[in-house]
């Protein structure tokens, strides 16, 4: 009786020297996603060693981290960023790799475009030189981030040299409350098990609260598995999965579709499968989450307060909290709802899909961004998400409220392009990391869901989206 992880592992196992639990094994890779930041050195060494990619059509490339989100027609200003993007273009052209270039409408964040194109399919092993590759596990894939040496290894051999993880099941049962989203589930889990809680594990999310999530929500959740320390997060295939994939450009068609679906339906843990660890959460108990510190585990609910390190006995933990509060410029016991913001960022591979934008727009509609907010940004996850949103008129809702509506990319999630926080600025962000300096040197990040970011934009401070009483214009 197998877990989903075991099934995926066995399906891809090419070679192993021993059956010892932690022994290294060669795992076949079906899909290799590539972006500009972690690939140039891999392509260079590959070339120096006189090697070629093993299977070019397994690779899909896109530039996302460095691309500007405005004024694209003028190209990339920063010469160093430009060189990195040009290098990717050149490598892909030379080797015949499919790449969505900056002006292609299909361009976007690598973890948004893979599923959007149907390039991520159930049962695949998916790798990318990017830790948030865990996102693709939403499709019952074994998907994880790898380093640049491993990017080169997969290019050259179509295999990854790795060892088996332990398995963890996180069951979320019941029904989510109003205004509570997949992002809140993810943050609540991380708050519970910690950022190292999943280290060494592959997590499978189960339970009716998970099954009732859309694919977008499932991607948000699996995306954050890495923030819980797990290399991979995954969710079993069901009708929602299959519905989402149907008709996408890279998805199988006709007879192959039927054949694929029959196989995909087997991609779930057997009922009596045994996990190394199980964690259970009640969906009804999850409140909208807001992080207050410099690690995603430093999180509380919208009704909560910033913690007081004085009450913490463990010296290491106390120091961590003190350091975080100093960096974040927060006083102990401050109610979360009284924290005022400077900037709002709706975007990133966690929360920039159409459903995220629809949810945020619903909160924003007919309202105005508070006058104290210096900048409120919406950065769609891909050109196609942007197009779809514009067809639905969401861009108008955002811009009428005072948001800026940008071109797709990673943007202020990590501030490698021009979108960033200045020193001391405080941001409600739908991204995944609140590390020191992540959104710009000295910038202060609070992670929230898209609806909570939208509500904060209107109120100027954090507020429970269900209690936002700002009037709407007709």
């Amino acid at each position: 009786m197998q877990t989903l992880y075991d099934k995926l592992w066995d399906q891809h196992l090419v070679h192993t020297e021993s059956n010892a639990p932690d022994s290294m094994a060669l795992l076949y890779i079906d899909r290799h996603l590539v972006h500009e930041v972690t690939s140039p050195q891999a392509f260079e060494s590959l070339k120096l060693a006189g090697r070629k990619p093993w299977r070019v059509n397994s690779i899909l490339a896109v530039a996302d981290h460095n691309v500007p989100t405005s004024g694209r027609d003028f190209g990339i200003n920063d010469p160093v960023s430009r060189l990195q993007v040009d290098t990717l273009d050149k490598n892909c052209d030379e080797l015949g790799i499919t790449e969505f270039k900056m002006r292609d409408v299909r361009q976007g964040i690598v973890h948004v475009i893979g599923p959007e194109q149907g390039a991520t399919l159930p049962g695949m092993t998916v790798v990318c030189g990017d830790s948030h590759t865990s996102t693709h596990g939403a499709f019952a894939c074994l998907a994880f981030g790898i380093g640049t040496s491993e990017v080169e290894h997969v290019l050259a051999t179509q295999c990854l040299l790795t060892s088996k993880s332990k398995t963890m099941r996180i069951a979320v049962e019941g029904k989510l409350g109003l205004g509570v989203t997949a992002k809140d589930i993810a943050l609540a889990i991380i708050g519970r098990i910690g950022t190292a809680g999943g280290t060494g594990y592959a997590i499978e999310f189960t339970g009716d609260a998970i099954r009732s999530l859309s694919m977008e929500g499932r991607m948000t959740l699996c995306n954050m598995a890495i923030e819980a320390g797990a290399r991979a997060g995954m969710i079993a295939v069901d009708d929602t999965t299959i519905e989402y994939i149907k008709g996408r450009p890279f998805a199988p068609q006709g007879g192959l579709w039927e054949q694929a679906v029959a196989y995909w339906r087997t991609l779930h843990s057997d009922t009596d499968a045994v996990f190394d660890k199980t964690v259970s959460l009640e969906a009804a108990g999850i409140r909208p989450q807001v992080t207050w510190g410099t690690s995603p585990e430093m999180v509380t609910t919208i009704d909560g307060c910033v913690p007081d390190p004085a009450g913490v006995t463990d010296q290491g933990k106390r120091q961590n909290i003190e350091q975080a509060l100093k960096y974040m410029g927060l006083q102990p016991n401050t109610p979360i709802q009284s924290i005022a913001l400077d900037k709002i960022f709706i975007g990133s591979c966690t929360n920039s899909r159409i459903e995220d934008l629809r949810a945020a727009a619903k909160v924003i509609k007919g309202r105005r961004v508070a006058s104290t907010i210096k900048l409120a940004l919406v950065v769609p996850g891909s050109g196609l998400v942007k197009q779809q949103a514009e067809q639905e008129g969401l861009d108008k809702i955002f811009t009428a409220a005072g948001f800026e509506w940008r071109e797709p990319g990673c943007s202020m999630c990590l501030a490698m392009n021009d979108d960033r926080l200045s020193k001391g600025e405080r941001c409600a962000s739908t991204s995944n990391r609140n590390f020191e300096g992540r959104q710009g040197p000295g910038g202060r990040t609070h992670l929230v869901s898209p609806v909570m970011a939208a509500a904060a934009a209107v109120a100027g401070h954090f507020v429970d989206v269900n209690e936002l009483d700002a009037p709407r214009m007709p």
């Binding site: 380093g147 640049t148 060892s163 280290t199 054949q259 590390f435």
Partner: protein, 225 residues
């Protein structure tokens, strides 16, 4: 590990990991993430080298660093542990839980190595970072919290404190002669000791990979269109 253990000059790529004796520097902070190890503005480089001067950039310097700046002209943060005179030319980094969490950037181990580190010791590491270290010949060692507390104490108390790390024997030795054993995966140890290129080793299995691929093509043809 019979198939993987054929040392052949063709597969030698990294420097062989020799016994390391070096100054130890204590970084007493949990959850040190890869953004802290090497901030993103330096990831724009398309090279593998030169990251050492920007290791821990935001903690190490008082001014904000950008690529292309001359590090010798920048103002060091005297409070940051790496800048203290007693820890200059350190080769071994002592760290706390969940070291290297965050992004998969190999630039983080590159920066540590480029700075001069050969060994990182912590009670736990993030998975991807841990993996990446081995790939470039940097040795991450997991030690339990109590021993680590002891090492932190000793380093703080003793100027010029060094450790000797013997990978072959899997043991570290303190200045007082105390021996602490550590574990390491057999295959990874073998690669480090011999400086082996695992791509070359994997390609020894090329036939097996091809065979696997053909079988897969038959069973799941939609993956190959």
């Amino acid at each position: 590990m019979k198939h993987w253990s054929v040392p052949h000059s063709k597969y030698l790529i990294m420097d062989k990991f020799q016994i390391v004796t070096g100054i130890v520097v204590p970084l007493d902070r949990a959850n040190v993430d890869t953004d802290a190890i090497i901030p993103k503005q330096f990831l724009k480089s398309i090279k593998r080298t030169g990251f050492g001067q920007n290791l821990f950039d935001e903690w190490r310097y008082l001014d904000h660093g950008e690529p292309g700046m001359d590090a010798s002209q920048r103002q060091l943060n005297p409070d940051f542990v790496l800048n203290q005179p007693r820890y200059q030319s350190a080769r071994i980094l002592l760290a706390r839980d969940n070291f290297g969490c965050g992004s998969s950037r190999e630039h983080a181990p590159w920066a540590l190595q480029d700075y001069g580190f050969k060994v990182i010791i912590a009670p736990s590491f993030a998975d991807i970072f841990f993996n990446n270290c081995f790939k470039i010949g940097l040795l991450p060692i997991v030690l339990n919290g109590n021993i680590l507390d002891q090492l932190f104490r000793e380093v703080n108390e003793t100027e010029g404190y060094t450790l000797t790390v013997d990978l072959q024997e899997q043991v570290l030795t303190t200045p007082a002669g105390e021996r602490v054993e550590f574990s390491v995966d057999t295959f990874r140890k073998h690669c480090l000791l011999n400086g082996l290129d695992d791509i070359g080793l994997t390609l020894q299995h090329a036939d097996k990979i091809r065979e696997f691929e053909q079988k897969r093509r038959k069973q799941q043809p939609w993956l190959f269109v």
